[in-house]
Symmetry: none
Subunit: 217 residues, 4 copies
């Protein structure tokens, strides 16, 4: 057995690291849920890909539903955490909105976990969001930022009046979300590969155009 590699990261050694253990479980569980849905995910499969055992999943998360809820919250947390970085105040309303849309497009693209968890959650009629205290709070700023930009634009006469920020957010979300959520079926049905950088760049540009033209005065 000369070829056996030395296990640098030995697996089952009682390592006292609760946060690490929980993080590890969350990551693996996210992958499993995202790939197979809530009902399709297997606790055994999750456990097998973990540094720890099935028992620890129950130790830290109680049951499958609560593990799923934790992943859902984590998905929201991840995508919202990234957003804070954007500084749009010093840009013109048009530039700010453009940047926000581009950013949203990219962000959804870079966070398929988020998109897919939300898909799954919708399959389950959003019943887990109801149980979460956290998720609501994470979404406050998004619309506020958007409203600020929009109102500045209206004031400066570059955006037309009469649009609600939340509706604008709805449209941006729709386009950016669909790009990720429905790529598999769209690709297969229309036999058009949307995965290339060029194709994505074009779509992004079109989405920006859609939104800019929609609000244009």
């Amino acid at each position: 057995m000369a070829e056996v590699k030395p296990k640098t990261k030995t697996k089952k050694t009682r390592q006292q690291d609760p946060e690490g253990t929980k993080r590890n479980i969350t990551e693996v569980a996210m992958r499993e849920f995202v790939n197979r849905g809530l009902s399709g995910a297997r606790i055994d499969e999750i456990a097998a890909n973990t540094n720890t055992s099935k028992r620890m999943i129950y130790y830290y998360f109680g049951d499958k539903d609560r593990l799923y809820l934790h992943c859902l919250e984590e998905a929201y947390r991840e995508i919202r955490d990234g957003e804070t970085a954007l500084k749009l105040d010093h840009l013109t309303p048009k530039d700010a909105l453009k940047k926000l849309v581009e950013y949203t497009f990219e962000h959804n693209n870079n966070h398929p976990n988020f998109v897919r968890m939300v898909m799954i959650e919708n399959i389950h009629h959003g019943s887990f969001i109801d149980r979460s205290d956290i998720i609501q709070k994470l979404n406050a700023t998004v619309v506020n930022d958007l409203e600020e930009i929009y109102l500045r634009g209206v004031e400066e006469g570059v955006f037309r009046k009469g649009i609600e920020a939340i509706d604008l957010h709805w449209h941006i979300s729709a386009l950016c979300f669909f790009n990720v959520s429905n790529r598999d079926t769209f690709t297969k049905i229309f036999e058009k590969n949307l995965n290339s950088d060029a194709e994505q760049a074009k779509l992004c540009q079109q989405v920006v155009a859609m939104i800019m033209r929609f609000v244009a005065a």
Copy 2:
């Protein structure tokens, strides 16, 4: 006695109607898949809500996967069947496009089964569409119709050049699909009820505006 049926309440007895039985099973199965997803759906639950027995499901459809595929195909068939009625040739390109978008918006709204089956299919990475000979054929006309309208519009100078019909279809789909697919989570997260007729009318109008402005010369 979960699985033991009370003996007094006999089912609607032995109806010699294969097509009717299959239709009945399909309807019930669709409801179950649409509400719980592929993995979440239960053959027992489907059978219980059927006029016939669990055995017949296997007799007619073989196994759960093939029953699901049948429902997926049925969902595509239903939504595409409805579309043939539209006659847009005699309208101006603008009116035709407007009508097509409005129609698509309404159509998705009226066929949540379709939307949800496609969501589920995307959760499963579109793997069942691959196995279907039927679905591909059903989608040919949609883009063709759209292309015709668009080209007429370009010719007449009312639409700008350089847009591919399939991209246009993508954008229309995105907005109309998202409206149904993500309503649960959007409603709950932003605490805004999108189910009212007024709200839907406004969204539809906005979607039309989005598309019209996007293609406007």
Copy 3:
């Protein structure tokens, strides 16, 4: 392997006999519950001693609690079924009461399953009896029969007045029940073997004397 006996009663052959299967499961489950209590009983152990599989237990009884409830009801049914045979009308009140007490003593002795199931039920605060529609009905006649005898005795001047039939039943039950329920601990603590026929006969006679003297005018 010359000594292998031919299996006359082959085990796992798909025999379509629902009533037999249910009866078989009930018998085995009763033994297990009676020996180990509700929480101590093991579904796997029950299944292993059955002619059928664990799956069938769930098929017919749903879950462990309902299987337990079924056994509890069965235990009541068994003990009450036997009772109907007694014909006490033509006896003098004294003879009738004597016979009833003797019978109850014997009957509890012959139905340890009943006694032990009731013990277990009391450990669980009688919570399963609450859920049973059947058990209540099974106990109507017992006290009625006793009351009839007692009232005849009072009328004839051989029993004293002022005793309620249900109290009388309580006392008879207490003595006859305890004889079975507490034999293990009583035997061990006082190092007196109560299992012999002679000992049981003496106890029975004493219990009869207790009751007869209690009601004597």
Copy 4:
């Protein structure tokens, strides 16, 4: 997060009081065993209701069985400790016996823990009593006291001859024990609430009458 305790609510911290800790554990464990039986009791549940941690239960008692045995012994100890107070020597045999029965009735009533632990022990065929060195010793005096009274009564001609003290004890125990052990099922089946003071007083009086008449010359 079923097993993960909230970190803000620290337990009553490190009390250096071994005896107190053991007493605390015993009390909580007794409650749990008495309410759920041996198999139904949960170490986690016991630990959660303790001032200390699960680890300490194992530190002091070794395992669940030994904790249970300790509770069983404790239950016997409690009920026997109370008994020593009775001074019956100076009373007439009748009065002494009456007082002893009344006392036993009350004592069982006041020590449901004892009654229920004995029930549980009988469910387990008295197997733990076998392992206890202590319990045997605790029961010596009871029958001796009773015998003394009985013999005095026979001598004085107020009690009939031929009754063994241990049998007398058996009858007294049966009635007083059953009153506590079977109250739940008896109450529910005969829909007669036996918990009231009046009802208990009546039963006590009847039990006294039963015994007095039984031994009466």
